[in-house]
Amino acid sequence: MLRVQNIAVVFLLLSGSLWAQSSAPSDAETIALLAQQVKALQKETMELRGRVKTLEEGGVKVQTAPPEAAIAAPAPQPPPPVPDAAATEASPGPTPEVHDLHRIQWRGFGEADYKVLDQRQPELATYGFVPGSQGNFYTADFGLFVTSRLTAKASVLSEIVFEEADAQKYQVDLRRVLLKYDYNDYLKLSFGRYQTNIGYYNWAFRSAAWLQTTADRPLVMEFASNGGLLPTQAIGVSVTGGIPSGTLGLNYVAEYGSSDTVRPDISGDGFVTDENNGNQTNVGFFARPDWLRGLQFGSSYYHDQISNNILNGATGEPVPLLPRSLGPAVRYNQTIVNAYAVYVAHGIEFLNEAFLIRQALVRGSLHFDTPAFYSQFSKQLGPVRPFFRYQYLNANSSIDSIFNDVGLRFGPSFGARYDLDDYIAFKAQMDHTVRRGEPDLNGLQLQVAFTF
């Protein structure tokens, strides 16, 4: 009997300890929370001490209330100010308070790359990559992203990019500067320089390599200033918002603005095409259905008028016309139709976009169609995200085709992204590109992308 009682006592103690273990996460949460609060308070105290010191050094006498006064202060207090969103987070890594300066929020992103190609005939170099080299390091885009809330509904957004050019020179590009006014969820207005919402990629990844899974952008989605085919920038007005549509989650986007695309030939001939775009119109719709979280599909239609004005990239002088070439005097109606379906959820990223770019001679039957698509799949496996991408682009090689330097290109890319932490990612990518009339191109790109 005594033995049974002993066993019972031991077991009850054991069960008690088990219960204690089951409640342990709650204690750990409490301790973590308290530790965060202490950390936040310590930081705040240090900041206040620093401010007091600064004021005292500046000759301002800082008065501290005597303890008696504090005790005998019955006057009603105003509600305690709520620290700004950015001033309280105590998570590790760059905390928001360092990103808030007089109500101006700022962020930055950058990258360092190493790339090697087996090209025998040098092609266009962008982002600081030197054409024809066995391989070299470059820093591509370094961006500063600044936002500020003006009123409850109005805010300013700007994106300043320092882009590496030839011979390690840097050029500044104000990629975006927008005055935004969100009237409600159905009407959001933006005025200024924006990135055109043609397709998904431009909207999702903007200029930050850190946001991308892959080390580079699909060629069709590359910025026009780096040889991409789409007019990626414009100045004007952009309107977006939701459309009451139940579980379909329909949204619209409408843009009207001026763009002036100057696109370098990617064949490496040293020429640039100044398209002298007229005003552009872009309308699109996309849906985020409630019944499959992570799915987004949509379509857009873009129109403007462009010229095939070929200039010497170094001097800016017009290049002499080739015989039977129509030259820069004629205008083309450019229409770009896009459709996409993406799924981003549960660690899966599955992007699919297709384009048809048509450039048709104004008052003529001549037209050039450039179909393009890319498909990209990746899956998060712990800190590693392996990816595979296949892209295809087929431009007409006629002398009057604006994309005759591009021709036919297709091929796979694969690699992996490894997130060292929440702010630094390492990527390795292999590319194989088949080109019409040229040897296949193989490449390796290593990249460290970061945000701060």
Partner: protein, 156 residues
Amino acid sequence: MSRKLIAVLLLGCVTALIPRSAAQATDIAVVVNSDSRLTNVSLVDLRKIFAGEKRTWPGGIPVKLIIRAPGCRERFVLLKLLGMSESEYKQYWLAQTFRGEAESEPFTAPSFGMTLEAIKIFAGAITLIDARELKPGIKVIKLDGHMPGDPGYALH
């Protein structure tokens, strides 16, 4: 003797399990500013609100998200609602910021007291609070027609 032993063992097991299951069943309340006219929200809309996809209330007041700090139970439930890990949550808001869809990551309140203060001050504020910590004067809204503690309440 063996029956007594089994009885004692069972008693021990029951003693160990009862508090645990009670803790797991604790609901997380959806709390809004007391001046808000909102009385009910669907789970789908709640996810959209906390994902920053729905940014204004019907009256036009901007939504102000008040998020508890990492390590809190409310944060854990929020991440479950969004289907994200802590790391994915941070990356998501950074991406939203770069896209221009958000000004910054939502306001993270490091303490319960600060959460309550923020809810009082911001007209469009919404947060998640452990139902055990609710106090008089806090406006709790229904989730798909259910209050915390009701059968069928979805957030816990």
